[in-house]
């Protein structure tokens, strides 16, 4: 193919060739190229196939708005779909593949869709694939999705690292063109902390793409000098390759930094992308303007490009799209392109100006055809010419050319200024939408604010930088603005589409929305621009209509006899350009998805061979298998050892709260439904907390350590919620109480010591008298462990055995657990896990999470007598409601399969024997199950309608979800040692 690289000029490094592949063919580009410029330099104009009609497409832009040249970049887990070739910096080994074509880009079978284009109009899918209804999900949608698609997501894990970070500044300058550079310099010189962020690989914005003179030198030279000064200022941070994608409350800006997207593999230890939250006192939005395409026949053919993009390729990348240009414009921009193309030694066949004639400096020797339009681009994959129709004429003239520069005017890039919901304002003179009139915290400036000449951008930028610094509290004045020459006045006459075109003209390239689709939508009744977007898909996709939206509004205005400001725009929402899921996830994936909490006994549990389970964020020891044991064998052995002798269990995950103060007892009385006035120092009591609505919230123990000093435990699952509840109650409901409380969950390693020999083991490590008389059931006291460790001992039991909980400061946990194991070896002491703990509590009919499930009252669970009648407490009033007192509630029972080897499952429903399985007949459900080592069979706890009256009844268990039905006997919920003889042992 012909090389389209110009012999000189550009910001590319001709001494550094770079090899890359596109569709598995090897190419060479130069350092400083984008993938798009390198492909153009190689004469590759065809870069993609369109979404719906599979039409051949080339690159249209040189920047972030590119709708066509979307590619898959990278291989395997690094593959990024829908990457814009205009934003991909070239690097050695870059691997790019075109999308949405089969079998190849040059020969795409899908292009037959184009032949049937007249039936594939907007709304076609909605109307055509309605019947039969069942076909949509299984047949139509998969077919359509395969045919009309963009790139493919990689299904392999991304090997790269992503991270998030916060930045703070006085002035954030977004965009580093002439306005942004001046703003950053003005604010920077005033001493403000400045961040200058720009999506480009190098800073300079439009100055890198134009041939304008500043202070007697090139724009490039001005950029270099300004950046040198900014770099030298310690209060200025430059952030190239950083797209500010959203403006949020609190003047927080979201930004994506492409840290290592310009290399094949990020250097070791470096992230590939960094997601920033930039908290700015003030921001200057110097985001520039986007050139509008014109809507005319064949305007999507490869080689039809934004006039400004052609300047960027010629001036910055020293690449020409072809050998002979034709310019179609309705404003000044086309003239500048003609001049720059000519200056690069490339032919310009003509300037076709839709206006009667502009006042612009005309490019010498180029024919100007005023009051004329291009009706059609001729040629298939390569353009051969255009048909031009002059005002009043009836036949078009052919002008030969192989690329087309088009300019329909400028759209200021106002996205960020609209992210908080404010509407942009139409400017008739410049035929564009400007930022909302008031954007506190954000100052739009330069082309983004409608300033379309270089001198104005420099001047306004300087003023905006000074103003932003001033608002941020710095003494700042505008800085001197360098001189420029020959500002071209901007003049435009809107041209929303070329009426005389009969060939297919595209409004939205990425979504293949044609000129006909928009009036069609209006005729169907979708005449608001938001509805037109949904009906036609114009403005959807990865570019979100950056090129198409305003033309669509203009066309809709004409079709419905309204004005463009009456039509308005669709809603601007973050993200300005796509942000990868990797960046949104940051470092929080795989094992770091959420933090892991480890108990102070974790090390000891590992030594004992624990299998861990996740309980919320915690890792808890579930069971301690011996060789050859599965979970059930291990848990069964652990239960037997505890019931027969002694075992120890890590219960450090229980929530623990230290409560003190003169009103501590009063607080407890209000928080819990049972009373604490009679709880003497040295004693513990089981407590029930209700929610305001009268249902059970949490249970735990309260120990009175010393007068006015309590130690509260909560369930593991509710630890945080109970703490928040106490804080709310104290701060909002009873601020008059003199109480102080703080979480001590992490301060204490807590070890349950349970079994008939529990006391004997503890007596070997604790000096204090533990005899039943001295330290009876529900005792709570400070003790000293191993002669020196200050500890607390509580005689409480979840297993139903003689049991204690021993609290030692966290650092001592592992040591004390080891000590208990060695001192208990003579008793056959075992470590036991959550599984054994759970089995034992079910055997005893003690409630836990399955029963404290948010729908139960104390009465439901047989704990009604704990509810005090003598005081007020949270949940008392609402707990008196009729339905909570009704006799037909589901209440706690035990269930036992009639066939002992049948396995019960939690969640299974209960039916009266012989009843049909229906919602009306539902009698309740199973809440917890276990295989009981003591009963040698499966047992369960359940909530059963009028259950207390039904002990002895045989009911059906219905569990079609897991294909299980059986008969069970309803029993008392306590299966083992109902007289609590062992507890007091």
């Amino acid at each position: 193919m012909t090389s389209r690289r110009l012999a000189q000029g550009g910001l590319i490094d001709r001494s550094r060739p770079i090899r890359f592949t596109f569709d598995h063919k090897s190419f060479a580009g130069l350092a400083g190229d984008t993938l798009a410029s390198a492909l153009l330099a190689n004469g590759r104009m065809l870069m993609a196939r369109s979404f719906k009609y599979h039409r051949p497409r080339g690159v249209v832009t040189a920047g972030a708005s590119e709708p066509n040249a979307l590619m898959e970049i990278g291989e395997r887990g690094r593959r990024d779909a829908n990457s814009r070739a205009t934003m991909v910096e070239l690097y050695d080994g870059l691997f790019a593949v075109s999308q949405n074509r089969w079998p190849s880009l040059a020969f795409d079978l899908g292009a037959v869709n184009g032949l049937a284009a007249s039936i594939f109009v907007a709304g076609f899918y909605y109307k055509t694939f309605m019947w039969p209804k069942s076909f949509w999900e299984k047949v139509y949608e998969p077919l359509i999705r395969r045919a009309a698609g963009l790139g493919r997501a990689s299904h392999e894990p991304d090997p790269d690292a992503y991270e998030k970070a916060y930045a703070h500044c006085d002035v954030l300058v977004i965009g580093s063109g002439p306005a942004g550079l001046m703003a950053a310099l003005a604010a920077g010189r005033a001493g403000a902390r400045v961040i200058l962020a720009d999506e480009g690989s190098r800073l300079g914005g439009s100055l890198l793409a134009e041939r304008e003179e500043i202070a007697g030198d090139s724009g490039f030279a001005f950029v270099a000098a300004t950046l040198a000064e900014l770099e030298a200022l310690p209060n200025v941070t430059l952030m190239p390759r950083t797209t500010v994608f959203g403006w949020f409350d609190g003047n927080v800006f979201g930004a994506l930094e492409r840290v290592n997207k310009h290399v094949a593999v990020p250097p070791a230890h470096e992230p590939v992308e960094r997601y920033w939250r930039i908290i700015a006192k003030q921001a200057v939005m110097a985001t520039g303007a986007e050139e509008r395409p014109l809507v005319f026949g064949g305007n999507d053919k490869p080689g039809v490009m934004q006039a400004s993009a052609i300047r960027a390729y010629v001036n910055r990348y020293a690449v020409t799209p072809g050998a002979r240009a034709v310019v179609f414009t309705n404003n000044s921009s086309g003239y500048r392109t003609a001049r720059d193309v000519l200056a690069a030694g490339i032919d310009v066949a003509a300037i076709i100006d839709a206006r009667d004639g502009g006042t612009e400096t005309h490019a010498a020797g180029v024919p100007l055809i005023a009051d004329a339009v291009v009706t059609r681009v001729v040629g298939r994959e390569r353009i051969t010419g255009v048909n031009v129709l002059k005002g009043g004429a009836t036949t078009a003239d052919r002008i030969e050319a192989d690329f087309v520069a088009m300019s329909g005017g400028w759209n200021p890039v106002i996205h960020l200024s609209c992210h908080k919901g404010d509407k942009p304002v139409w400017d008739a003179e410049r035929a564009c939408f400007l930022p909302p009139p008031s954007t506190p915290g954000l100052i739009p400036v330069g082309a983004a604010a409608g300033a379309l000449t270089l001198s104005q951008c420099l001047k306004d930028g300087s003023a905006a930088g000074a103003r932003a610094a001033g608002l941020a509290g710095f003494k700042a004045t505008s800085i001197a603005v360098p001189e420029t020459r020959d500002d071209e006045p901007y003049s435009i006459r809107p041209l929303w589409h070329v009426r005389q075109s009969t060939a297919k003209a595209f409004v939205d390239f990425q979504n293949d929305v044609t000129l006909e689709d928009i009036p069609l939508a209006a005729r169907e009744g979708f005449n608001s621009i938001e509805l037109v977007k949904r009906f036609t898909t114009s403005g959807m996709g990865t570019d979100q209509g950056k090129l198409s939206n305003i033309n669509a509004s203009g066309i809709l205005a004409e079709a419905t006899g309204r004005t463009v400001p009456e039509i308005g725009t669709t809603t601007f929402r973050p993200f300005y350009t796509p942000v990868s899921f990797g960046a949104l996830t940051g470092a929080f994936r795989a094992t770091h998805y959420q933090p892991v909490r480890k108990t102070p006994l974790h090390e000891w549990c590992e030594e004992m061979g624990a299998v861990f389970m996740e309980a919320g964020l915690w890792l808890r020891s579930a069971w301690f298998p011996k060789p050859g044991e599965d979970w059930r064998a291990a848990a069964t052995r652990e239960v037997m050892a505890v019931r027969q002798s002694v075992g120890i269990c890590d219960v450090s995950t229980l929530g623990k709260i230290d409560l003190q103060g003169p009103d501590a007892t009063a607080l407890l009385n209000r928080l819990y439904c049972n009373g604490f006035s009679t709880l003497q120092p040295g004693k513990a009591r089981y407590g029930l907390m209700l929610r305001e609505d009268g249902f059970l919230f949490d249970d735990g123990t309260v120990s009175h350590l010393a007068s006015g000093h309590y130690f509260i435990t909560t369930t593991t699952a509710n630890a945080g919620r109970v703490m928040s509840h106490i804080e709310f109650c104290h701060q909002a409901l009873w601020p008059e109480l003199d109480v102080q409380y703080v979480s001590v969950t992490d301060q204490w390693a807590q070890i349950a010591v349970a079994g008939p020999n529990a006391r004997r083991v503890l007596e070997r490590v604790i000096a204090e008298d533990l005899a039943d008389a001295a330290f009876p059931y529900l005792g709570a006291q400070a003790v000293t462990v191993a002669g020196g460790i200050p500890a607390r001992l509580f005689r409480i039991s979840f297993s139903g055995e003689l049991a204690y909980e021993l609290s030692v400061p966290a650092d001592h946990g592992n040591h004390v657990a080891r000590l208990l194991m060695s001192e208990g070896s003579g008793f056959g002491i075992v470590p036991y896990g959550v599984e054994a703990l759970s089995i034992m509590r079910i055997e005893k009919g003690h409630v836990a999470g399955g029963e404290l499930n948010g729908t139960t009252t104390p009465e439901d669970l047989g704990l009604g007598r704990m509810v005090s009648r003598n005081k007020d407490f949270i949940g008392r009033m609402m707990g008196e409601r009729e339905a909570l007192k009704a006799g037909n509630r589901d209440v706690l029972v035990g269930v036992k399969p009639v066939e002992p080897d049948h396995q019960l499952r939690a969640g299974a429903h209960l039916l009266t024997r012989g009843a049909v399985a229906s919602l009306d007949n539902d009698q309740g459900y199973v809440t917890s199950v276990a295989w009981s080592p003591m009963l040698r069979q499966w047992i369960g706890l359940a909530l059963l309608k009028r259950g207390r009256e039904r002990h002895g009844e045989i009911v059906q268990v219905y569990d079609d979800l897991r294909n299980s039905r059986m008969l069970v006997e309803v029993t008392h919920p306590c299966f083992y040692d109902r007289e609590n003889l062992k507890l007091h042992g």
Binding site: E163, A165, R597, K598, E603, Q660, V744, T745, G788, L819
Partner: protein
């Protein structure tokens, strides 16, 4: 009776993952940050009794020569530091110390004006210092740590990697993170991952 427990049998938090050495990128200027554990420490939560904050301040001044720091502040005198930790709540911190020594010392002086709770082993203190310490911390916290905004002695209660932390600039460019013990390993792993691009050194425990 079992043998006397010695303080040397205490477990060290992060023990499983804290290995002194040089990690991450190896630049010519040495590691960007150093990370180390402060252990053992004595830490006590001081909560003023209702309406007694001024009396508490007087007790601390008289008994320890320490001013009660305001929100976001800390004070130090000789071997004791006070760090603000929420409304009417402070952390008293001292080096080393056997179990509950500091708690007993403070209780003797402050029992009438404050509730005191020993947290020495419930919190883990990770110290991060070095030229890139702020850059590492900025990957986790929304607090502005610029030298002009967050000065030595200032404290902040914030979040890092989904974990609540208490952050102090304990000396110029030296930051101390107090974290609930159960979360310490997760937080440390996050910090090392974020520090890897600058290179980091894990120091021996102090």
């Amino acid at each position: 009776m079992a043998e006397m427990a010695s303080q040397t049998q205490r477990s060290v938090p992060l023990g499983a993952i804290l290995t002194a050495g040089r990690y991450g990128a190896k630049g010519p200027d040495g590691p960007g940050v150093t990370l180390r554990l402060r252990h053992p420490l004595s830490i006590v939560t001081i909560m003023a009794r209702k309406g007694r904050a001024e009396a508490l301040a007087a007790d601390l001044r008289d008994g320890f020569g320490l001013a009660l720091p305001g929100p976001g502040q800390s004070t130090t005198a000789q071997d004791l530091a006070l760090r603000w930790a929420g409304p009417e709540q402070w952390l008293a911190i001292a080096e080393g110390g056997r179990d509950s020594d500091l708690h007993q010392r403070l209780t003797a002086a402050l029992a009438d004006t404050a509730s005191l709770v020993d947290q020495s082993q419930g919190r883990v203190a990770i110290v991060i210092a070095g030229p890139r310490a702020r850059a590492v911390l900025a990957k986790g916290t929304a607090v502005d740590l610029h030298p002009s905004r967050f000065r030595p002695g200032q404290v902040a209660m914030t979040q890092m990697a989904h974990v609540g932390i208490h952050l102090t600039q304990s000396a110029p460019d030296v930051f101390e993170l107090l974290v609930f013990r159960s979360f310490a390993e997760s937080l440390f792993e996050f910090l090392t991952a974020m520090a890897a691009e600058y290179g980091y050194e894990v120091g021996s425990r102090e």
